[in-house]
Structures are given as C-alpha cells and as structure tokens.
Amino acid sequence: MLIRIVEHIDLNEAPAYLVSEETGAINLFVGTVRNHSKGKTVLHLDFEAYEPMAVKEMEKLGLQAKVKWPLYEVAIIHAVGHKLPGEPVVVIGVSSAHREASFEACRWLIDELKKTVPIWKKEFYEDNSVWVNAHP
C-alpha cells in the first residue's frame, strides 16, 4: 500500500504506483479545492493532521478495503497545509482485476476517510473562516 501525508500532492504518483501487469482496472479519486462553497468564494483551505494517527487510520482503511474487495493495491495520499483553489488535497486509488471492485472500493475508501481519519479542514472565505464539521 502507498499511504502518505504530504505537503504537496503529485497527481502522477498514485497511477504510476497502481499500474501493474496483474491488474486490469484502476480507479482513482482526486479531491481538489473548489473556489466556492455554499454560495461563498473560498480563498483557500488549511489542512491539519494528527499525522501518526492519520497514517494508522488510513492503513486500517486500506487493509479493510482489501478484505472487502479483491484488490491488488491501494493508495491513499492526503495533503496538509495551505491549499489554493484547484490544488489536489486527497487522492484515493485502487487496482483490481475487474472494474466493479475498483469503483466500489475507491468510493468506500473516500467515504470512510472523511469519517474516521484525523485530518481537519479550515475554510477561509472573504469575510470569515470555519473549521468544517466542527459544529452541529
């Protein structure tokens, strides 16, 4: 598995890692910073991670996905720091023999990552900033 927390995501890294002679399908999800959210202009996002725990939780998710689906490899890369609109902040990639498993596992991984991995996002608008999900 390729599990990383990085300052800057290289979009070429996960596909290069996942390509192999054994597999027929790769699904890749890339989350990027949108320049607007709920009708407001987003200037940038700041991401912060509790790194040793985040890596551990991402490893657990990768292993769980490998139990749930017949996957060859899993890549989970998350960025931290100051991110501008258009910049990638998360990459999930999986490889499998057939495409069904690749789509399902990739979708499950991004959904679960958002629930359990200790990473926090602060959105900066023109007039204020908020820690996403913090309040009900």
């Binding site: 989350g31 991401f47 912060e48 991670a49 509790y50 040793p52 725990m53 985040a54 551990k56 998350h78 902040v89 998360v90 991004i110 990552l113 958002k114 629930k115 359990t116 991995v117 200790p118 990473i119 926090w120 996002k121 602060k122 820690w131 996403v132 999900n133 913090a134 309040h135 009900p136």
Partner: protein, 79 residues
C-alpha cells in the same frame, strides 16, 4: 498528563496542548472528556469529541495513564 489538541480545539484552548494538573482524579477516557468539557465549555458545543490513546480511538470506559500519548479529536473533515 498532556492532551494534544488539533483543529478547532486548539483554537478554543489557544494553545497546542492542555496540561492536566497532576492531582486531577481522571481514571478513564470518559472522566477526561467530562473534565475537558468543564474546563472549556466551548468543547461541549462541538458536533462530537473523541479521545485517542496512543493514536487509536478510545472508548469512554478505557483507563488512561500518563505514559500514553493522549489526543483530543474534534469532528474530522479530511478529504
């Protein structure tokens, strides 16, 4: 005992960690959550609060020791 803070809880406390006084009677994760809520009422207003012990999510019933790395985990928002 020191509690690592992240995201909004670091903003609430105004510092990256909270030091729990040595004579505070905290046996479990649940006790620690109660104590933190009393010290920082804004923490009680969050959508959820979890505690990680040695970088694993911990149940309220888990006992804590000052030898462990303890972190306060506010609602996550990665991805």
């Amino acid at each position: 005992m020191e509690i690592l803070l992240f995201g909004i809880t670091r903003d609430i406390a105004g510092k990256p960690r909270i030091t729990v006084p040595a004579d505070t009677p905290l046996a479990t994760v649940g006790d620690l959550k109660t104590w933190l809520g009393d010290q920082y009422p804004a923490i009680k207003a969050l959508s959820s609060v979890a505690i990680a012990v040695d970088s694993e999510y911990a149940e309220d019933s888990q006992t804590i020791s000052s030898h462990s790395e303890i972190a306060l985990i506010p609602p996550v928002s990665g991805g």
